[in-house]
Symmetry: C2
Subunit: 452 residues, 2 copies
Amino acid sequence: MDQVEQYLAENAEQFVEDLKSLLRIQSVSADSAFAAEMTKAAEFVRDQLLTAGLSAEIIPTAGHSIVYGEWLGAADAPTALIYGHYDVQPPDPLDEWDSQPFEPDIRNGRIYARGATDDKGQMLTHVKSVQAWMKTHGRLPVNVKFVIEGEEEVGSDNLDKFLAANQDKLKADIAVVSDTSQYAPDIPAITYGLKGIVACEITLRGPNQDLHSGMFGGSVANPANALAALLGGLIDADGRITVSEFYDDVVDLTEQERAAFAALPFSETAFKNSLGVADVFGESGFSTIERRWARPTCDVNGMISGYTGEGPKTIIPSWASAKISCRLVPDQNPRKVVQALEDHLRAHLRPGLAMEFKTYHGADPLVIDTESAFMNSARNAIEKSFGVAPVMIREGGSIPVVASFKRILGVDTLLLGWGQNTDNLHSPNEHFSLKDYQRGIRASAHLWNELA
Amino acid sequence: MDQVEQYLAENAEQFVEDLKSLLRIQSVSADSAFAAEMTKAAEFVRDQLLTAGLSAEIIPTAGHSIVYGEWLGAADAPTALIYGHYDVQPPDPLDEWDSQPFEPDIRNGRIYARGATDDKGQMLTHVKSVQAWMKTHGRLPVNVKFVIEGEEEVGSDNLDKFLAANQDKLKADIAVVSDTSQYAPDIPAITYGLKGIVACEITLRGPNQDLHSGMFGGSVANPANALAALLGGLIDADGRITVSEFYDDVVDLTEQERAAFAALPFSETAFKNSLGVADVFGESGFSTIERRWARPTCDVNGMISGYTGEGPKTIIPSWASAKISCRLVPDQNPRKVVQALEDHLRAHLRPGLAMEFKTYHGADPLVIDTESAFMNSARNAIEKSFGVAPVMIREGGSIPVVASFKRILGVDTLLLGWGQNTDNLHSPNEHFSLKDYQRGIRASAHLWNELA
């Protein structure tokens, strides 16, 4: 490990330059206007894998391509399947960024750019740790297979098909994913539970055009009022979701988990201050940590109807639309939940309106065994890089691939997050601590050793 | 009247050309980007009054100018105060227009353009009828004073001040306004009741930036969900507005009115078909006509929050905003209603959110005496032009100036609508029947005779 550590130290600056180059590529998967940038990002990742000393290729899918790379020279050693994604969330709202989202800017030891932490920066830690082994030893202690996709932010529609079609090629003993966070600065964590997700969009159509609210008010259902009634009715005053059967399959937190969560350092005041809110809100009867990590949620992600420009315009809008996502916990089933949601919305629709319901994507929730040998290797690797053992946490985010790895390849996943909750992923001013970037690379380098 | 009628017949085409010229001017009062067009429209109206043989001037206000014109040569005859407005609603959504909103296009005997019926076309009928008298007789049977404002679509903020400061100049026996509709094609109407209005905008602010819905879902109130809950809660399943005290001052319809409304030809099926809705919806216990004309309403005119682009984006939006308008009936008070609405919304706000509440404008509801001598003159004038006596109706629209005329100048108003409910005012493809335009001019010409 000494040679590896020395290589990491000597190349730390170059690792940052490589990250900056990747962050300059506007790989927004949700918007077809960025298709050429998506291709550019895939090519960049492939070239990084080649530079690290792996074989690498770009594999087309029905959507955005998957980058695959491997080194399989460690006979009798285990095989790690490393997953990441090169696509990013849209950068809107642009006017809330302090620097350009695709022009990485380093301030106070952090690199600011869309995708800095989610997931370009975190994903690159494993490429760089592999590079360090290959450049210093010409080999790795384990076999590695990289799968870096371009559709994580839009539901990974083509990944499962790729996994199913390449089960032999992708055969592995353990998967490694860095797309989560540390518990807090200098409190590294391993995430053993993830929420699932369903996302959908509904559009209500009423009159065939916008109507004068004086002439026609009171005569027909207003799509904006009706959409508000539907969305507003989804959560009651206690923060409970009102969709019938929604909670039927929810596995309660164990007393042990509740105690462990309660023992973690957490200041609700600091939390509120960091978000700029006067109070927290959510399902009554649960702590803020419990709600974030282990209770299902239902959020309106966006909505639009009628006139939204300057000044008043007294109309009944012709249509109204909203995007909704529900975060799920074991053993909720995404397909069952989205069907219950659609049924609920249709049942509460006001007369004279037509509803279009579009499902975007789903992912199963999951929890992982915290006592496996792989989990112990990861704990050791992290302790060696960070100087402190990681805490065991769950997370509210959804990483569909983890459920897919289990279901399709039969492999468990180590969720080793190098980021911070405060890194603004999916928000303006997304960033990644360069210290976390370098410690992540080092922990990853140790992990290959520990696994072997 | 023979000479007048002949002049009208001979100049019908020129009257349409003048209307087209006015419709080409993009006089959108709500948007400051159109300020120069507003000035152009005022100048055009002034020149039309001068051409008609009146004295005319443009009078600046703190907002958009008022055009004033007069002819006072009929000693001992009554004085009519004619009101109209040269400003129009914004033309959005532009892509739903079949022709350009500011390039008037005649199809099937109708002229299509923003403002065609509301109110450029209707307003111009009185200018042209006066022109006919002046060009044929060198005089009018009555005195006339024109007040044509440029802020009707944004609340007439400066009109009341103008009226109050010019009470002598504006002294009149009766006001005449054509900014309403006939009951139906070939069923002319006099409108004796108007709704009032209050319009406002609310913005809910939550977290200081958009948040990842997985990482933060369940921890803080989502402004979009919370706004939906507030707006959705404003109307119950029976179509009743839930704001406490909202209905306290509502004067019930008389049995006579209900019977008269019920006797009017009205096909609910045709109404639904014209709007493209499968069903009507509104306050239970009232007919569709009653709800439109004489029951208060509460409409969301627009709302926006979070991500509204292509594909999913699973965030908790930082803020959410909506425009709301309530249409009022006698004896509801706009100030009292908007205060009750604000109180209601604040009382139901979820924890951790800040609410901004902005009031746009208000207007009192009113009903007018249907048995006055002026009303009889109007009935006769309309019958002479249209060949049929008008029906007496109320309307859901708000024309604040009518209440102002009564309150400030002590004068009643004849609401003589030449338009149709189906003219798409405030909507894409606004239009005005050229037959109604010419019949309106003729009825107006008769009105000056009847009033004298």
